[in-house]
């Protein structure tokens, strides 16, 4: 079975994917992960997860064009230009 291993480098940091190990059960997976990703003090904690338990989502369809909660939903350049012209301050800068 394949187990994915995530490691935390220091307390407070996020766990990041480190690699994977092949093992016949969780106990062996833990000991292989410890040897592969923790024996030089490079990790303070590991998560060892059966690959089948990882649900990958890699499609993000924006059906409703919900750009109002993103930075690219607010193109202000043209509007600012128009507002400055309206206010007569366009040449001040």
């Amino acid at each position: 079975m394949i187990y994915e291993v995530f490691r935390q480098e220091r307390k407070g940091q996020p766990f990041t994917h480190a690699g994977s190990v092949e093992a016949p059960n969780g106990e062996y997976a833990e000991s292989y992960a410890r040897e592969q990703f923790g024996r030089r003090g490079e990790s303070v904690a590991l998560w060892v997860v059966p690959r089948s338990a990882v649900h990958e989502i890699d499609e993000f369809v924006d059906e409703l064009e919900r750009n109002y909660h993103r930075v690219d939903g607010y193109p202000l350049k043209e509007k600012l230009k128009e507002a400055r012209e309206r206010a007569g301050t366009a040449g001040d800068r």
Binding site: G19, E22, N25, E27, E35, Q36, F37, E42
Partner: protein, 299 residues
């Protein structure tokens, strides 16, 4: 080339990276498996020249360091075979192809280690040459391989220090010790110059075309010479090539490496090929019961 393959090629050539679950051309997958498998084989076979010196290491500290290095390299081979496995070739099959002589491994691991000087030269210069190749894989278009290379390069950086420490200790020792280092350098220079492969233009190298590696063979060799010849010279050692010099443009000139020898050796005819593969075969048979016991106990 069909349109989808052309699009993929343009994607990787513009720096795009690929994950295991992404679509990829069959040719790309086949090239990846062949390249990465050979790397895994080399890590596994690369421990044997050093293993031969664990029992003969001059001090306890050296013995421990060598043992730790062997553990690191075997660990690298496990990580690398995992990458190959996810591409579709099981580890067991890789090991079978290795011990049957069907698969290749790097030229430098087909040679004997005659003295402790050889151990130093391997740990310093063979590892240095290998790191140059491995750093060119950090930008590999196949992302899972690139990610695992980060960890491997990090561990290799200890190894090269260990090698340099062995060499410096001997160079600061007796005339006899300095002589051992010089003799070992003479033995290893040829294989080291062959290490990065024939000087095929990178634009014609399929491994570069698919951006599996990010530099050509000739570039890697120049980088090796640039980084290490000055370090060799400053210790009072002589490089056994009368034509070695840096030209006015900063490029190294050298005698043409023996490409016939390289081909002969990597196709399974090196001085130690049979003996080392034989050891792999024997240990694989001897440890069969361990694998059976582990799998039975875990079931």
């Amino acid at each position: 080339m069909e349109a989808r393959e052309q699009e993929f090629l343009e994607y990787v050539q513009s720096g795009g990276q690929v994950e295991t679950s992404d679509w990829m051309p069959d040719d790309y997958r086949a090239k990846l498996i062949k390249f990465i498998e050979m790397h895994g084989n080399s890590e596994l076979m690369g421990v044997l020249p050093e293993r031969e010196w664990i029992l003969r290491a001059p001090t306890l500290q050296r013995k421990l360091a060598l043992t730790a290095k062997v553990q690191d390299e075997v660990g690298h081979s496990q990580l690398i075979y995992r990458v190959v496995e996810d591409l579709g070739k099981p580890r067991e099959q890789c090991l079978e192809d290795l011990i049957s002589g069907k698969a290749k491994f790097h030229n430098v691991f087909h040679y004997p280690t005659k003295t402790w000087g050889d151990v130093g030269v391997i740990a310093w210069l063979v590892d240095a040459a290998a790191i140059i190749s491995q750093k060119a894989l950090l930008k590999c278009s196949y992302a899972p391989y690139a990610r695992i290379m980060k960890k491997i390069c990090w561990e290799e950086s200890f190894h090269i220090l260990h090698g340099r420490d062995v060499i410096l200790t001997m160079m600061n020792g007796t005339d006899e010790q300095r002589e051992l280092v010089q003799e070992a350098l003479n033995r290893w220079w040829g294989p080291l110059m062959q290490f990065h492969g024939n000087p095929i233009a990178k634009e014609e190298d399929p491994m570069y075309i698919w951006r599996i590696k990010s530099q050509g063979n000739g570039e890697a060799r120049q980088q090796f010479l640039d980084g290490y010849v000055p370090q060799i010279w400053e210790l009072g050692l002589t490089v056994p090539d009368p034509n070695l010099r840096k030209d006015d443009d900063g490029a190294w000139e050298f005698s043409e490496p023996d490409w016939g020898e390289l081909k002969h050796v990597v196709t399974g005819h090196g001085p130690m090929t049979e003996e080392r593969l034989g050891l792999r075969r024997a240990t694989r048979d001897e440890t069969e019961w361990v694998r059976r016991a582990v799998l039975a106990q875990a079931a």
